[in-house]
């Protein structure tokens, strides 16, 4: 049966040759290589749940009277976007689960990308020949953040509406073109002519996802073409890749991991409430609530806005709201551009144009590691600055003190972190037996009553890791050995 259908396809497409070598592709094993998979699989969940949501969501700012099953809202005038989001949460069966899973998947998607990126950064996996894939990855991160913002803006609730208002003001702050961009995007001065929700909708469900899918294909295609990096270890060199074969081992593990990721997301979607828009209420431009905060991946931008002093530049009949433009446009622009060109920066510093397939240990590259730590410290610091009001309340401190603390903490902490990380890397490199398993010490007493300690024999690791790697043997399947190459890549001889 399988034979027959494979023959049918191969007669027409000739997939047997390439397909066979694809099945033999080797994937190195390391837990940190899973982080990107989390991002990939939450994206799968995002697409699935997202399609479900589009079947019920109405992207319209048109006002209607709510008649759904959520009693406190009955009889109120709300937008169709808001009514349909509440409706798909309460009146569409499984709707709430799908909506909350979608939101959780987005948060996990971006979190996984961030952690995956940190792994790639600190181990130097972005070096030649993988610079392009790094750029593709950073682009996906930016698009993911943009789409997250657009997505949580769609329900037209009080919190997200405030977010859109802030976004408009940030656009407006751009010198020369700000007002134009804002007017064109919103169809006029804020709040515009009601076009923003349908426009955000089409960007959120079609334009950005289409680009993301394309970039994702490129990301994975490059990964397959260039083969995965690996940590140094037994038998692992720059010229080979050691691990499990694509089929069946890796495929089984990664498919199982898809189910696990989805299980966690749907579990959260059912048990951990997220974005309860019926509690926030419909967006009205004159209403606001206390402690309005965006989703976590926007927090760093909000924090930067909070700690910025009120420096507005006025002159020559023009105004440049630097207190908005610098933290909300220039700052993220700088961060993303540093990320995008980081491989270039490192190349400029090291002039290293060799191929790198073996990963670095972070401690072996103290400057890169310290730079990464400084960047993370900066982002965490501004992230926490986005909750100055909540902190002031929680610690019973004056808001002003909390703000002044962050005004110093945000620029200074990364510098301190840089030097601490740099020092730790150096200390670790100099430490004896670093990176080796600690041996058990055996304390024994001699007949004279003297105590001596001796190190035990090295502990054996996982038996398979101790083996010398071999090419995927012909034995696994029944291919004629004559059709195989020593590299484990099979080619049919013409």
């Amino acid at each position: 049966m399988i034979d027959k259908s494979l023959n049918w396809i191969d007669d027409r497409l000739g997939v047997a040759k390439g397909g066979r070598s694809f099945l033999d592709k080797i994937f190195p094993d390391h837990w940190s290589f899973m982080l990107g998979e989390i991002a990939l699989y939450s994206f799968v969940v995002l697409l699935g749940t997202g399609v479900f949501l589009t079947l019920y969501y109405v992207p319209s700012a048109h006002e209607i009277v709510y008649h759904g099953s959520y009693v406190p809202l009955r009889g109120q005038k709300v937008s169709e976007a808001y009514a349909s989001t509440v409706g798909l949460s309460f009146d569409v069966r499984s709707g709430l689960l799908m909506r909350q899973a979608h939101h959780w998947a987005a948060d996990i998607f971006l979190g996984a990308i961030a952690v995956h990126m940190a792994r790639v950064f600190f181990t130097g996996a972005f070096r030649k020949p993988r610079e392009l894939n790094w750029v593709v990855g950073v682009t996906m991160l930016i698009l993911g953040i943009v789409n997250g913002f657009l997505g949580y803006s769609l329900p037209d609730d009080l919190v997200s509406g405030t977010g859109i208002r802030i976004a408009y003001s940030i656009i407006e702050s751009i010198p020369l073109v700000g007002s134009y961009v804002g007017f064109f995007l919103f169809g006029g001065n804020y709040p515009g002519t009601g076009v923003i929700i349908p426009r955000f909708f089409i960007i959120h469900v079609l334009i950005v996802p289409a680009i993301l899918v394309g970039l994702l294909a490129a990301h994975l295609g490059l990964l397959v073409k260039q083969k995965h990096t690996q940590f140094p270890g037994k038998g692992k060199t720059e010229k080979n890749v050691v691990g499990s074969p694509m089929f069946p081992t890796f495929m089984a593990k990664t498919t199982g991991f898809l189910f696990m990721t989805a299980a966690v997301i749907f579990g959260l979607g059912g048990f951990a409430q997220i974005n309860p828009i019926w509690q926030f209420g419909q967006y009205e431009p004159y209403q606001i609530s206390y402690a309005v905060q965006p989703d976590w991946y926007m927090g760093w931008l909000d924090g930067a806005l909070r700690i910025m002093p009120s420096w507005e530049w006025v002159g020559f009949g023009h105004t440049i709201p630097l207190e908005v433009f610098l933290p909300a446009v220039i700052f993220p622009g700088l961060i993303f551009n540093i990320l995008l060109v980081w491989p270039l920066i490192e190349w400029y510093k090291t002039k290293d144009s060799n191929y790198h397939n073996l990963l670095d240990r972070p401690r072996d590259r103290p400057k890169r590691t310290a730079a990464g730590v400084a960047m993370l410290t900066l982002l965490f610091a501004v992230f926490f600055a986005s909750s100055t009001d909540v902190m002031a309340n929680f610690f019973q401190l004056p808001l002003m003190d909390v703000l002044w603390f962050f005004r110093f903490f945000v620029p200074l902490a990364p510098i301190v972190a840089y030097f601490i990380a740099f020092k730790i890397c150096h200390e670790m490199r100099d430490a004896e037996n670093i990176g080796q398993r600690k041996r058990a010490l055996i304390v024994s007493r001699t007949t004279e009553g003297e105590y001596v300690t001796t190190a035990s024999a090295p502990r054996p690791g996982d038996s398979h890791e101790e083996l010398e790697a071999i090419p995927v043997p012909t034995f696994i399947d029944t291919t004629d050995p004559e059709l195989a190459t020593a590299a484990g890549v099979r080619r049919v001889i013409r």
């Binding site: 033999d24 592709k25 094993d29 069966r93 709430l96 689960l97 405030t162 208002r165 407006e172 010198p175 020369l176 007002s179 134009y180 804002g182 007017f183 064109f184 804020y190 515009g192 083969k227 720059e238 080979n240 050691v242 691990g243 499990s244 074969p245 081992t249 890796f250 495929m251 089984a252 593990k253 498919t255 199982g256 898809l258 299980a263 059912g270 048990f271 431009p285 004159y286 606001i288 309005v292 909000d302 806005l305 909070r306 700690i307 009120s310 023009h318 207190e323 191929y355 397939n357 398979h464 790697a469 071999i470 043997p473 034995f475 696994i476 050995p481 020593a486 590299a487 484990g488 001889i493």
Partner: protein, 320 residues
């Protein structure tokens, strides 16, 4: 691709350690994997049942998650413990092509198509420019149709949209609550606040104004408890009215602290001193909230005594 000759792979036998599952008890692990997948099955069936009887969101999530968890654990156990673990090795090859291949590729790009035409560069240039202009031609409607052009100032002839500079507040406009009720002079106690709009524009974003009663003052008293410089006639009978749009990012400045007589923006904690013309005392807001001149007519109705003297809300390039 390098041209290595196909050669037979090293032979491996059934008992080759690379092909052994990573567990000493494959039978037990297989049973476990099957059990996990069966639990998964039960979870999925339970999900369908739960959906059928319309149980809660938590039941749906729990059963679905259980299903995928079971299936996931089973599949991973299968892959991790019951399949050939290797390690296996695959060779890498340098990505770059050989020098002759590169040269041929370069020659093809630069040489081809120029064989018969003399001035290929010119052709190419004209093609590029035309293509660029075509892109521009598509961009003109693609961008320009999106929205109106913002006016450079408020004294234009109506050909552009001057809404950045203007609001619907004019002399005599009635102060109205969002549900359309006329605001009377005795509506607020001292320390009370109310969001008001010009009649006919209830709920409008740029027109929102926060009305505060600072003190109980009569028609013959000075309008303020403490008179701010330059705007002595903007308040009336202890009332002041400010644009509710934060000058930082346009959030509604909705929190009023009566004790300190400060308006606080909940978005980024800018604090405005209501007693001193709403100057920003703290936080990122750069300018005072524009003040709306108000008055009380003979019947006690509150009205605007003019429009704002400046653009409301956050800063922008065209703002003078």
């Amino acid at each position: 691709m390098s041209d290595d000759k196909p050669s037979p792979l090293p032979p491996a036998t059934l008992d080759d350690p690379h092909l052994q599952p990573a567990t000493k008890h494959p039978q037990r692990m297989q049973n476990l994997a099957i059990l996990a997948m069966v639990i998964g099955m039960v979870g999925f069936v339970a999900f369908i049942v739960v959906y059928w009887i319309n149980a809660s969101n938590q039941w749906e999530a729990g059963t679905l998650a259980l299903g995928m968890l079971g299936l996931g654990v089973g599949t991973i156990a299968w892959g991790k413990y019951l399949m050939p673990q290797g390690p296996f090795v695959e060779e890498r090859h340098d990505f770059h092509s050989s020098e002759p291949e590169r040269a041929a590729f370069n020659a093809a790009i630069t040489g081809r198509g120029g064989l018969e035409v003399k001035r290929r560069g010119l052709l190419l240039g004209v093609f590029g420019v035309a293509g660029g202009i075509m892109t521009l031609a598509f961009l003109v409607p693609g961008i320009r149709s999106l929205g109106p052009k913002p006016a450079k100032s408020d004294d234009n002839q109506g050909s552009t949209d001057d809404s950045l500079f203007t609001t619907n507040w004019k002399k005599g406009a009635r102060l109205t609550t969002v549900d359309g009720r006329q605001v009377m002079v005795d509506d607020l106690e001292v320390g009370g606040v109310l969001t008001v709009f010009p009649r006919g524009y209830e709920g409008s974003s740029p027109d929102q104004v926060i009305l505060i009663r600072l003190a109980q003052l009569g028609p013959n008293d000075p309008p303020y408890p403490i008179a701010p410089p330059g705007k002595t006639s903007f308040g009336v009978q202890g009332y002041v009215a400010y644009s509710k749009l934060c000058t930082h990012l346009g959030c509604p400045v909705g929190l009023y602290q009566e004790r300190t007589q400060q308006l606080v923006c909940p978005c980024h904690q800018s604090i405005f001193n209501v007693n001193a013309g709403a100057i920003p005392e703290f936080g990122p807001a750069p300018r005072p909230l524009p003040q709306l001149p108000i008055t009380v007519d003979a019947t006690g109705q509150m009205r605007a005594n003019g429009g704002f003297d400046q653009a409301v809300g956050p800063g922008f390039w065209e703002r003078p």
